[in-house]
Amino acid sequence: MNIIKTLSQNKVAMVGFAVLVMLILVAVLGPYVYEGTPWKMVQRPFIPPFENSSYLLGTDILGRDVLAGLIYGTRISLLVSFVSTVIALLIGIPLGAYAGYFGGWVDEVLMRFTEIFQTVPSFALAIVLVAIFEPSVYSITGAIALVSWPPVARLVRGEFLRLRNQEYVLAAKLNGQSNRNIILKEILPNSLSPIIVLASLMVATAILLESSLAFLGLGDPEIMSWGYMIGSSRTVIRQAWWLSFIPGVAIAVTVLALNLLGEGLNDALNPKLSGKRES
């Protein structure tokens, strides 16, 4: 399709896409290459990177392989961020769709509800949720989803408000189509572009959120994650700055890749906003 073509011409977006594909590959295949567990203490602690060829990125405070940690960390970062984004979409899209499509008191009620979630500072809420339900992949994913759906609802509502008076929607009404059909088949497919763009940015934000939580010690203790790696080596930042530095770069690169892809998608899907076409 057109979009893929436009996107594939956007070099920067393709770089982002390539990095992302690579990360997904690492997440899926990495554990097969690096068998066992990233928690295993394999060598003496604090081996700097590029010093020992078996442990390319060195070892951490307990003598665990940093590279193995990075690889396993890719998994959790991507998993949590994708799943939480999907959940946020599953909450936000129906809510926004109903509010925007029906308007009136439905809109009023749903938007007040959304407002509640938007009013509470989101990161603080995420912290509280994770702490209360005790850190685990589930509570972290859930908390991130729970604080990130309101923008989706707002966006979808806006799109539905805009599209519900489009003539093809009116035509569908005149055709006697059900509201469900109109929402799902007429309006939703046409509001997908901005949702996709938002979703790509939400994945990026979710990665940052997940790592921030893990940094604060609110990560799943069973799972090696980038945020955990930074948080746990923070106390030794003077002796071994690379232990905090390396996972931070991993996060930045991933989030950057997602942002580049998101920008590219935005250019491809919303030509109005793109810098490419001026007329």
Partner: protein, 325 residues
């Protein structure tokens, strides 16, 4: 101010208060869902205790009452502008929050102003030099800062500027043990503020730069810009007089939204730089199960969001004559 605006503000305030009340109730139950209670935490720190002591603490805090009664007491107190007493510090919650508020306001305010000024400036430059090297440089920098985890940036900044270069203090708000007064105090707080405000601000600078740039580019495609050009105006003047003000409208909205969120959202920065603010207070209150304090912080920061949204709307209405409240 006209009656209309006052009525509007009153209406919004009432709605906002309702939202806040719902939030308070929601938070009340949320926090009670957490395992353990404040008595256990305090007893836990003591290292040795027994049921008698725990019970004494619970009675003192009113935690021995049924939950619905505690909620009623809490809401009732709230309606009388009383946020209760912190369990740990034995101070009125409101006083404690107000104690910490200046630090947070200083940090977030500085970061906010800094990021808004820098961000808008960068965005304008990028848009003015659209598709030339300054645009690319700013866009790339903005993207990178946007993608970098805040806490990590903070750590790296403190490593570089405090540890290796020893230019700036890496934690706290004032030099400990020094009793500065007057300008010395201002200077002292100022140098402590640099790193936290800069790292917190950088992220938002990136946000505003990106937004301003996009908005400027979009606005410069609008018809009235064509009109301005057709008048024979210099491009820089067109940019400044016509594009900028219009382009800033969405930035104002975003800024207002974030200004409110910033109050409760600086936990990470406050943690890394040991800044004695609200975010840190919240974090500690959470782990100490200081229910009243935690609820209080949430209430105040939510109220800030409501307040800032309202202020944004009013500003918007002043900036954009089309908007009628």
């Amino acid at each position: 101010m006209s009656i209309k605006i006052l009525l509007y503000i009153a209406g919004r305030a009432v709605k906002g208060l309702l939202v806040l009340l719902v939030i308070a109730v929601f938070n009340f139950f949320l926090i009670r869902a957490a395992p353990g209670d404040p008595a256990q935490v305090m007893a836990g720190e003591a290292g040795a205790t027994d049921e008698v002591f725990l019970q004494q603490l619970r009675e003192q805090f009113g935690l021995d009452q049924p939950l619905y009664y505690q909620l009623w007491v809490y809401i009732n107190n709230m309606l009388h502008f009383d946020m209760g007493i912190t369990y740990r510090q034995q101070m009125p919650v409101f006083d404690l929050i107000m104690d910490r508020m200046p630090a947070t306001l200083l940090l977030t305010g500085a970061a906010f102003v800094l990021s808004l000024l820098l961000g808008v400036l960068a965005g304008v430059v990028a848009a003015a030099k659209h598709r030339k090297w300054p645009d690319s440089a700013i866009t790339v920098a903005a993207l990178v800062f946007y993608a970098t985890p805040l806490f990590w940036l903070a750590m790296m900044a403190s490593l570089l500027f405090s540890v290796y270069l020893d230019w700036l203090p890496s934690f706290g708000m004032q030099t400990v043990g020094e009793d500065f007064a007057g300008w010395d105090k201002v200077r002292d707080i100022g140098i402590h503020l640099v790193l936290p405000a800069a790292t917190l601000g950088l992220f938002f600078t990136a946000v505003y730069a990106r937004m301003t740039r996009t908005s400027m580019i979009e606005t410069s495609r609008l018809d009235f810009v064509k009109t301005a050009k057709a008048k024979g105006m210099k491009p820089s003047r067109v940019l400044y007089r016509h594009v900028l003000r219009n382009a800033l409208l969405p930035v104002v909205t975003l800024a207002g939204l974030q200004a409110g969120q910033l109050i409760g959202g600086a936990v990470l920065t406050e943690t890394v730089f040991a800044w004695p603010g609200i975010g840190r207070l919240m974090f500690d209150a959470l782990f100490q199960r200081d229910y009243n304090l935690l609820l209080g912080v949430f209430f105040i920061s939510s109220a800030m969001v409501v307040l800032f949204n309202l202020i944004t709307d009013v500003i918007y209405c002043v900036v954009d004559p089309r908007i009628e409240l």
